[in-house]
């Protein structure tokens, strides 16, 4: 293991020498963000190799407008809100779902199936499923939308906050952050979309894209491969996560996403409006779309003054550079979603960002 770490360190060093400057590798997976911290991976990287945290946490990139729409629906007497746990503490204009839980119409669910069951068990209410997540989670939503249609569970609907990783990577590398040299790509998203999905980033932007799992040696292998490519001056598409990732991905899951959803323009916190980057229910299933059912037009929300989650998500600053970090914004009392979410960069930095995780200063 030590040998592999040393090999990775040599490769990172060689890459920054080959480019004659600091190399910046962005990871776009919340689980990677946390794993990198937990395992102190930053501390073993040589000087001049920097890891940037990207928009890999679905809760963190959920625009404030979406949060406010959820809270608006939570205020309705005729609605029951079903949500995954990590969304409930994100603050909006009128509190958070957690504060509204006191009204007993907000339920935490572990699966989209549970949300549908909630609708079956409560026929007198409309259940709104807060459907947030990347391509890993979208198929689970699609399955229950289809079932709701087949079984005519008309008191069920979803507020789709599903997002697509590749369009965000495009927006980042083409405009938001010109300092990204390579991407460490998400493992479980790739199980669904296949590592072939990142080919366009390699081809159009000449950036190495390497998929890795979240186990520490996997991450190190992934970083080593990226640095090997940077030294060679040749960007390639690779996966070191052979156990579960294939080039094509899970075609059954892709099919069901395609049956129920279509890509639509949408707002991301920090990245603004990105074309065809979110999933919207197709017309065939529009009656299950909460926006259409409740006639809501979603607009871009405003972030809390002083909150710099947007810049953190683009890898432009590190959490401690935000004036609120550790002061007004802490794990116990978060201001922005990057601190709320268990996979947010700010939360990870707060929890694990001790001396071992600072950049190595030689």
């Amino acid at each position: 293991m030590l040998e592999r770490i040393q090999k990775a360190q040599k490769l990172c060093d060689a890459a920054s020498k080959a480019l004659g400057r600091q190399i910046n590798i962005m990871e776009v997976c919340g689980t990677h963000t946390v794993a990198i911290f937990r395992n102190g991976i930053r501390s073993i990287l040589p000087k001049h190799s920097k890891l940037l945290s990207g928009p890999g946490c679905p809760v963190c990139v959920t625009d404030q407008g979406y949060i406010d729409t959820v809270l608006q629906l939570a205020d309705r007497e005729d609605c029951l809100i079903a949500t995954y746990g990590d969304m409930i503490r994100v603050p909006g204009k009128t509190g958070s779902l957690e504060t509204k839980q006191a009204k007993a119409n907000v339920k935490v669910v572990l699966s989209s199936e549970d949300a549908l069951q909630l609708a079956k068990d409560n026929p007198e209410k409309t259940v709104v499923f807060v459907a947030v997540g990347f391509e890993t989670t979208a198929p689970a939503t699609a399955v229950v939308v289809k079932e709701a249609a087949v079984e005519s569970i008309d008191n069920f609907c979803i507020l789709s906050g599903h997002k697509l990783v590749v369009p965000a990577m495009r927006a980042l590398v083409s405009e938001k952050n010109h300092n990204i040299d390579a991407f460490l790509c998400p493992g479980h998203v790739s199980v669904i979309i296949g590592y072939g999905a990142f080919a366009e980033i390699v081809e159009d932007f000449d950036r190495p894209c390497v998929v890795a799992g979240f186990e520490p040696m996997q991450i190190i292998e992934g970083l080593a491969e990226i640095c090997r490519q940077l030294s060679a001056g040749k960007a390639e598409l690779k996966s070191v996560y052979a156990a579960v990732v294939t080039k094509e991905g899970n075609t059954a899951a892709q099919k069901i996403i395609d049956e129920c959803f279509e890509p639509a323009d949408g707002y991301w916190r920090g990245l603004g409006k990105i074309e065809k980057s979110t999933l919207k229910l197709k017309d065939k299933y529009s009656r299950f779309d909460a926006l259409r059912r409740f006639d809501i037009t979603q607009t871009q929300g405003e972030d809390t003054s002083g909150c710099r989650c947007g810049e953190v998500l683009c890898g432009l600053i590190e959490p401690p550079e935000c004036g609120l970090f550790g002061q007004d914004c802490t794990l116990q009392e978060p201001v922005g979603p990057c601190m709320v979410s268990s996979e947010g960069a700010c939360a990870a930095w707060f929890k694990y960002g001790g001396a071992g995780n600072q950049e190595t200063r030689v």
Partner: protein
């Protein structure tokens, strides 16, 4: 949210399964993985199996998750 947990299918009827991992059993669906069979190790995400997984990978992941659980349980002396 990216996190998927390896688990073994211990009961299966149509696409409804009961899976077992790390001392727990819970319901999951194999709708997205129609080729999965009773006894298979699969990756479960948000209640759905998304991939088959081999024994070695599963064991590594379980070990890692157990370490994380241990870490989370002990008082965390490092703060921002």
């Amino acid at each position: 949210m990216c996190l998927a947990i390896p688990a073994r299918i211990v009961e299966l009827e149509a696409d409804k399964a009961v899976v077992d991992a790390m001392g727990n059993r819970w319901r999951a669906r194999i709708t997205l993985l129609p080729e999965a069979k009773l006894g298979d190790l699969v990756l479960i995400h948000a209640g759905f199996a998304i991939s088959l997984v081999d024994e070695e990978e599963a064991k590594e992941t379980w070990q890692l998750l157990a370490e994380i659980a241990d870490f989370e349980d002990t008082p965390n002396k490092v703060s921002g």
